[in-house]
């Protein structure tokens, strides 16, 4: 039996030796990324139109467009890692990726764990209403009914800032939209990306207010303390702003979803300046 113990010990040490060959201590600095000739970027793989894989197996979307450009300007190859919303921070903390570009919304809580670069997109609330009685200003809603989903930012925002607006609350997005179709409210409010896309598919409705409330921004993120890479990304975002890169990105990837009439400026952030 002693032999078996030896065999197992040998196998285990072999695994460890092989594993340490792939040793990675901490994040990769800008120079290390350049030297390796490859940048690893975490992207969504199933969130159209921001990061998804198309029917030809190619990554597409607003975030992907930026990822390709970052790799190109660094002069390195792009290595895409498909991440999901709950493990985005984990990928950075374990140095599995250099950058996360998976539509990562800035929050103070997250900022303690990763370093955010300058924003490249913003999300606010939007209000969709029937074209026949389009709501273009929040004041128009005083004394009227506004449909919201429970637990959303729209609910808290209106309760706090516009107590005169009567809220009609639904448990799910689907029910809320059905409520609007049935005429149970004068408008509906949720994230502007959502209402914009919905209005396109439902003729007779339009988004009268495209940007309202506290802005949330979407930023690239790097591992905590990776200053060289962070600084390069920030510089790059400012530089890309000069050529209106993110508007081009919007036209290429988001226009189809939000329609001809949507205003790119309600989503796009150029040069990291809100």
């Amino acid at each position: 039996m002693k032999r078996f113990v030896k065999v197992i010990a040998l196998a285990l040490s072999l695994v460890l030796v092989l594993a340490s060959a792939a040793l990675a201590d901490g994040f990769r600095t800008l120079d290390e990324v350049k030297e390796s000739g490859k940048i690893t970027i975490g992207l969504f793989h199933d969130k159209k139109p921001f990061g998804y894989v198309d029917e030809n197996g190619e990554y597409q979307g607003y975030d992907v467009y930026l990822a390709r450009r970052l790799a190109e300007d660094l002069g390195v190859e792009l290595d895409i890692v498909a991440v999901d919303a709950p493990n985005r921070i984990e990928f950075l903390q374990s140095f599995k990726v250099d950058v996360i570009l998976a539509n990562f919304t800035y929050t103070d809580e997250r900022a303690e764990q990763v370093d955010f670069a300058l924003p490249y997109m913003k999300v606010a609330l939007g209000v969709v209403s029937p074209e026949s009685a389009l709501v273009t200003d929040v004041e128009q809603l005083n004394g009227k009914k506004l449909i919201v989903s429970k637990g959303t930012t729209a609910e808290t925002y209106f309760e706090k800032n516009y107590p005169d607006v009567e809220l009609v609350k639904y448990d799910s997005y689907t029910d809320a939209y059905l409520g609007l179709l049935d005429g149970r409210g004068d408008g509906l409010s949720t994230d502007n990306t959502e209402v914009l896309a919905w209005a396109i598919e439902n003729p007779g409705f339009a988004v009268g207010i495209e940007s309202l409330g506290d802005l949330d921004t979407i930023n690239p993120a790097v591992s905590k303390g990776n200053e060289t890479l962070l600084a390069w990304i920030n510089e790059e975002i400012v530089k890309l702003g000069e050529e209106n890169f993110f508007h081009a990105d919007y036209e290429a990837t988001l226009r189809e979803t939000y329609g001809e009439n949507a205003d790119a400026d309600s989503l796009v952030v150029e040069g990291g300046v809100l």
Partner: protein, 223 residues
Amino acid sequence: MQGLGISVLFKGINFQRLLLGLWVTLRIALITIGISLVLGLIFGLLMMSRSKIARAVCRVWLEIVRFMPQLVLLYIVYFGFARLFGVNLDGETSAVIVFSFWGTAEMGDLFRGALTSIPKHQRESAAALGLTKAQINRYILLPQTARRLLPQAINLSTRIIKTTALVKMINVTEVLKVGQQIIGQFYREPSAAFWVYATVFLLYFLICWPISLLAGRLERYWN
């Protein structure tokens, strides 16, 4: 497009991608099953060894594998190793390590169970007939153990195949992850999810079914 969810399967190279994902699933499962079989035999023998330490180690190993969800083990190896020891393994390697860690212990326990279930008199009668120890192992114990082990080993193998679905959480694009990508790509087509998941179900079935058929056949042949 409404009501034509099935068509999303044949857009572009989507179907090929699903099959490619299936191959990744199969590859991880086959390597794992191979390693588990070999190491499982050693593990089973160690469980019956006279060394108290070896038995204790096996016991602890087996209990860890039984109590820890596989997903937690995957996270420990994929993310945890990188953070704690700077060992940056890719998703597939991590998956094979974790599933082999699990499969070895389970297979070992099955092997031990099968071997100890063979009545003592089999060995004693063979010895009385003058067979050597090697002959007893080769002609008496091994065939009977194999027969008892087979159904359970097959069961474990299909469980391993199905559990590989978890590796999508550690950046391995296997069949289920491809399925989700296709659904995400056609998020406005409500019936797409049904057809994609139905196809994934069918693909899993197509791998697992022949395995249990083969097992059934072998069992009948031996009886």
